[in-house]
Amino acid sequence: MPRWGMVIDLDKCTGCQACSTACKSENNVPYGSPDDQRRRRDIYWNKVIAATSGTYPRVNTEIISMPCMHCDHAPCVTVCPAKATYRREDGIIVQDFRRCIGCKYCIVACPYGARSFNSREQKEEQYLRPDLPPDRNVWGQWPFPTRTHGVVEKCTFCFHRIDRGMKEGKKIGKEVVPACVEDCPAEARKFGDLDDNNSEVSRLLSSRAWIRLREELDTKCKVFYLLK
């Protein structure tokens, strides 16, 4: 069984937010609005943060793009009372909207702020996406074409793409990758099997210095950042 992971090269990342946009269109995540953002209700499956250290003129800003970290020891899986979020055999932490009761305990427990609560019904026009690029049709429909408010949402590593690619016998990590990896113009993101020694992610992790975020919490997360 593979163990999917992602490597993000901080040297290549330009902070262009293409991953966030790709994720929103691939997974039909609600647009949100300025008011939603001000009140922290907009849904992000992938966010890009900027961390500044030092003061002008000796200042450095790191751009960190953060999907769900898909931790092997996921705090959200431990606390979910309804088994709505669980770890698949291939290491992806998925959220089942049909089981989720909306208790928001996982949002409290997640150390990466990867989870968002869907607090309003999505508008009809948000399902009909004229802004979707035509090549999105290649992967077919997103598994949950309509969504409901009152549940917690998060990144899925685009498991619908991976499952379909596996079924068709394609090479995951080369031919089939999550939307954010596919759309990254700087090719800063790589996706692949962490247990496979020949995969590109394993090669990168063995040749470069890497970190994981919030290592002190022992989440054993599967998103790695290559240092500059």
Partner: protein, 398 residues
Amino acid sequence: MGLTFSRIEGNSRNFKILLILLAGFTVIGFICFMVSYISGHHVLGSSSIIPWGLPITITIYLIGLSAGSLILSALTYVFGKEEYRPIARLAVYLAIILIFGAMIGIALDLGRPEKSWRLFMFFVLNNMRSMFALNGILYGGYFLIGIIYLGTIFADKHEFIKMMGKIAIGWAALVHMGTGAIFGFIATRPIFYSPIKPFEFLSAAMVSGLALLIIVVAATFKFTKRNLNKEIIFSLSRLLRVLIIVLAVMVLVDKLTHLYPPDREPTIWLLTGPYSWIFWLLQVGLAYVLPLVILFHPQYRQTFKGVMVAAFSVVIGIFGERFSLVIPGTAYPLPFYPGKIEGIWGMAGSFPITPIEFFMSLGIFTLMGLLFLVGLQNLELLPVDEIEQQTSEVAKKA
């Protein structure tokens, strides 16, 4: 025991007006809940940063009151403190109502309350490693035990009362420690994360439950024009004094450990930031300092009014304690990466109390008030209005 209990008539005009008022606010609360259920939680103050709002604050507050109230009823039935017998039935009934209100509070906070049955599919559909699922067992069992306990008291089966009382005390302590564990086991949130949390919750439960019991007993006896043996109130207040000190020490230890590295910032932010007034004014001021000053004051502690003021201040202050745990506990931004995080991801969340959330929360309280009055009317909870019979033998000697 020459102690008989009776139900109240409930024919007076004021009683009926009170019933109608409470019912009205309950209906308003229910309408507000339906609005939030149908249109989504964007009408409430909670967000992805502060996921738990007023309903959860109220829930843990009510669980505290309930567990405390039940433990006190056991003073009579288990430890044989006869002087508390006149109020013991009331304490048990109050505990049942309060846990019911708490469960309603959880349901109001769920995004999908129609799926709340999933919380009770123990070991089948539930992840039993989750504190929330374990607490489902504790709350449900507590509600059942409370009802059976009250049933045995009404049936006057002495040997069973004592047994049920023992089970109920143990279970009540578990309920409250479990509730503390919901918060205390979350390593992500430094304000929550503490092994002392279950015990802090237990002592907070005892304090708030006792204070509420003092108020409810005094109010019920006054409004139903019964004579209350003031010595009950004073002896309860002496117990309250000790429990407040225990709680204050626990909170002090908790906050002190959090002021040491690592993860100091959230606690410093709690003590000095925008929510600090809730901590210092409500929690420290009203829950610990003011009642302790009154209850240790040589004159005020012997006046009925002084004890009542202290009890009120504790009940409000413990609510402040819950609020200053739940809301600021999640509001402080998470340290994703070393350095100052720019933009919204580095800002502390804010929690506006919207009218819908306020009336929804008020509805929980009015519903409980309604149940309480209906209970007084239909169950034999209060001792009969004869001073001779009301005070039991032991209390008369004392």
